[in-house]
Symmetry: C2
Subunit: 209 residues, 2 copies
Amino acid sequence: MAARSYNQYCGLARSLDTVGDRWSLLIARELLLGPMRYSELLAALDGIATNLLADRLRNLESAGVVERQVGETGGVVYALTPWGAQLRETIESFVRWSTPLMIRGRAGDASEPRWLAVALRALLHARTARWPAEVGIEVPGHFVTLRIDEDGPHVTVQPDQRPDTILTGEPEVVLGLAAGALTIDQALTVASVQGDRRVLTTVFAGGPA
Amino acid sequence: MAARSYNQYCGLARSLDTVGDRWSLLIARELLLGPMRYSELLAALDGIATNLLADRLRNLESAGVVERQVGETGGVVYALTPWGAQLRETIESFVRWSTPLMIRGRAGDASEPRWLAVALRALLHARTARWPAEVGIEVPGHFVTLRIDEDGPHVTVQPDQRPDTILTGEPEVVLGLAAGALTIDQALTVASVQGDRRVLTTVFAGGPA
DNA sequence: CCGCATCCTCATGGATACTG
DNA sequence: CAGTATCCATGAGGATGCGG
């Protein structure tokens, strides 16, 4: 143990001492959407070894980033502490920074609606989207609901019902639209809309916040 | 080589594929203050192995985060690309996140005025500091100048002259003040001021931006 | 000197099997 | 289900060498 440290009195270095290990920030990303069980994390983070997940959760818990709770069904769930939840700012800034990479995509990458939910919130949070508005996002194999109200954007991974307006396209196009890298007209040359097209303007056409 | 990837179509994962290796973000932190030579980076990042620095710079360059330039004295200097410079948002969010760790300090950590410069800018950037104002910050062994104008906070590591007002204290106190974790009155029980005390109010007493 | 490359040792990460 | 134990592969850290 005795995790390797940079030994620098610097906020970045101290942060990386805490959450800079491989997988740690991805665990935090998963928990941003709510508490999860060990087995759910193991399934969501494809490729992580079981001993590493256990080690990371131990370290994050002793650092005060994550806490073990008793879930609704009685089992142990892992949740972010209030301080851990503040990693949202950092995670969202990474998501925004990655825009030049993401709008190109990359063959072979796995894609999860959970990650799309985090990304849409991060990208739209920096903009003045108007509310209220609701649109369904359909990408190959997945469906999420994006709703904007006075509190900002909310993304639901498993909607109870599909909104009236639905945008269908490749993930790169949806993210390009949310990032402002594509105009709605540009996006609609490679994506399609069912329902009221004008909802897209409400959701995606806001300027920088 | 063939850098290890998470293989996830997620902005966080793609960002960490690019700058998630050990030392990479610390290299970016150093370059936020301006281009540096290889030997300067090696000296600033105490503990990094020479082969690792070379490897990281290669990777960051091929990723488009860093570029090699010809410096003023003719030698090669490393600089952030425009995209790389946008890592400032992420780095500053890490700095803000680390506040609970930093206001306690940690024995044995090295301390550099360059890191204090990054931190002060990150912490004050989220607040409505009034301008113009200028204050010297003296911590054991180091001195920096904090100036605020219409563009926001600027921190100079090697000032050409010392400002009229100088705050002297431990780094933890200065950061606690900048983070809003300490009031000016609280800070002054363990720090001292030469010159016009009211300047501190102008610089540090702004609310959230 | 500066800017690395090589070599060696050890810590960390990854895959799989196994257990309370 | 929620981890531990084990073993192998990879990456980090440190010393040294070497060409420009």
